[in-house]
């Protein structure tokens, strides 16, 4: 494989070297089962404990509030199902129209099973209206599930204000923070969040591991039933190498938080230059209330897949929409919910940076992108001239 300029970090990230180094011993000599009755397994148990503390530290939580999962999707599913199971009499859910499929598709299924679901709408900048939430929430609302930051646009929701409203009405508050963790500081001690999902492969841990924060005192019913692992909150032999990796990744993410400003500078440079040198372009999503690493840009009159493949030809990885819907032909439900004009909807590209993105890489993108856009616009029947 040739080297690539990887600007698709909201889809997945590279495993950082330190993380790989931390997990490798658990893929080789320390292969015991942490639940086993011998010291060989016991040593492994200690590594799991350390990892749990590292994640708790990143979230400002207690180690006992962390449950390991296999991915963000499992975390979202487990959280939502647990919240509903804890309050079987309440039959109403509030979420937003721009959630990830892991929340949205589950909510759609739950609707078929007798739940009523309110999907809060977003405006053209991707923001929700708290009045709409206030109007929708009732004593029958079991759960408010809102993402911390949107994976496609990076737009950040006012989580604590949403949480206060949820708490006032006695609803459980779940936050899909898969895209926010490691990019914005989080502190569960002072938060209204009851359940929070994170996914390892978005923060430089490998795929196949995630975690769920469960506030102490929250009634929790496991999604996976079986052995007593994770203190009865997630059955199945622990993914020890993954857990150790996630712990290390959390530690690194925590220490990286003070440098997020540099990532943002690079993102802004990319974005501002594109807007300046390529006509008929616009940023999708609120310009400020946004993750520091994400830029979603609409290129009018051309189609996203064509842009992506052309970038790919030059070894640049980006995406349109989320990876798990890129197999489908529909334009992004997030951009559609924002009411963007069709000319933009089909030609929007997400660039998502990581702490490993360099100035040289961004410069190379800025060198190539204008030619690609020009070429495709020349092919397009809608090209203005």
């Amino acid at each position: 494989m040739r080297d690539c300029i990887y600007l698709d970090n909201n889809a997945t990230t590279q495993v950082s070297e330190e993380v790989l180094e931390a997990m490798l011993p658990y893929l080789t000599q320390y292969y015991g089962n942490p639940s086993s009755m011998h010291s060989f397994g016991g040593q492994v148990g200690k590594a799991v404990k350390t990892a749990r503390e590292q994640i708790a530290s990143l979230l400002g939580a207690e180690a006992s509030e962390i449950v390991f999962t296999s991915c963000g999707t499992e975390g979202d599913n487990a959280a939502i199902r647990a919240a509903l199971a804890a309050q079987p009499d309440k039959r109403h859910i509030i979420t937003t129209a721009v959630e990830h499929a892991a929340v949205l598709n589950l909510c759609k299924l739950l609707e078929k099973q007798g739940y009523s679901v309110t999907y809060l709408s977003v405006d053209s900048q991707g923001l929700i209206d708290l009045d709409e939430l206030e109007a929708a929430i009732t004593g029958n609302t079991a759960l408010v599930s809102v993402m911390y930051a949107n994976n496609e646009t990076g737009v950040i929701f006012p989580i604590e204000r949403i949480g206060s409203i949820a708490k006032e009405r006695g609803a459980i508050f779940h936050v899909d923070a898969v895209q926010a963790v490691g990019k914005v500081p989080l502190d569960m001690k002072t938060s209204t969040i009851d359940l929070l999902t994170l996914s390892g492969h978005k923060i430089h841990a490998p795929k196949g591991i995630g975690a769920l924060y469960v506030r102490r005192g929250t009634i929790f019913r496991p999604l996976l039933i079986g052995g007593h692992q994770e203190r009865g909150r997630r059955a199945g032999t622990e993914n020890v190498p993954g857990i150790v990796a996630l712990g290390k990744a959390a530690e690194l993410a925590e220490s990286h938080l003070i440098n997020v400003g540099l990532e943002q500078q690079l993102r802004d440079y990319l974005e501002q230059t594109i807007l300046a040198i390529i006509p008929d372009t616009a940023v999708n999503g609120h310009p400020l209330q946004r993750l520091p690493n994400t830029s979603n840009i609409g290129f009018k009159y051309i189609e996203g897949e064509a842009i992506l493949l052309s970038l790919d030809q030059h070894g640049i990885c980006a995406s349109s929409g989320s990876a798990c819907t890129s197999g489908s032909l529909e334009p992004s439900h997030v951009l559609r919910s924002m009411g963007l004009p069709y000319s933009v909807l089909h030609g929007s590209i997400r660039f998502s940076l990581s702490r490993y993105t360099t100035q040289a890489e961004i410069d190379r993108v800025l060198e190539i992108l204008p030619t690609i856009i020009d070429r495709l616009r020349a092919l397009s029947p809608f090209n203005s001239d």
């Binding site: 089909h346 092919l379 029947p381 809608f382």
Partner: protein, 158 residues
Amino acid sequence: MWEYTDKVMEFFYNPRNQGTITEKKEGEKIVTGEVGSIACGDALRLHLKVDEATQIILDARFQTFGCASAIASSSALTELLKGKTVDEALKLTNREIAEYLGGLPEEKMHCSVMGQEALEAAVFSYKGIPLATHEEEEGALICKCFGVTDTKIRRIII
């Protein structure tokens, strides 16, 4: 990610016959066929230059708004059309377009249908026949992009 053949990628990166036709001589006619819209995310404008005496397509060009396979299919279509008479051209199926490209992923077959529809529109326009609008087709609209109905897809692909 879609599995495109090398030929699809070649026709996407280096499309043949892009653009419009403006120059014509005595006895030649330029016509245009159009399908799709910006709303649905795919659109194709096909331009033909036809020799009125022989009915032979002298030149074919395209403008496409769409995915890689739509662009490649449009370009392949123009290659296939040149040298054919308009009646021969009408017999061209979307499957032949796809085959010319070494195949398309199943989910992307409709991109080649778009080419066939634009061709139909252009030839009908050449012959002065009004084109039946898509809404009159039987069957449910399955691809809102360019008004292909499922009955039509079955007719076209199978």
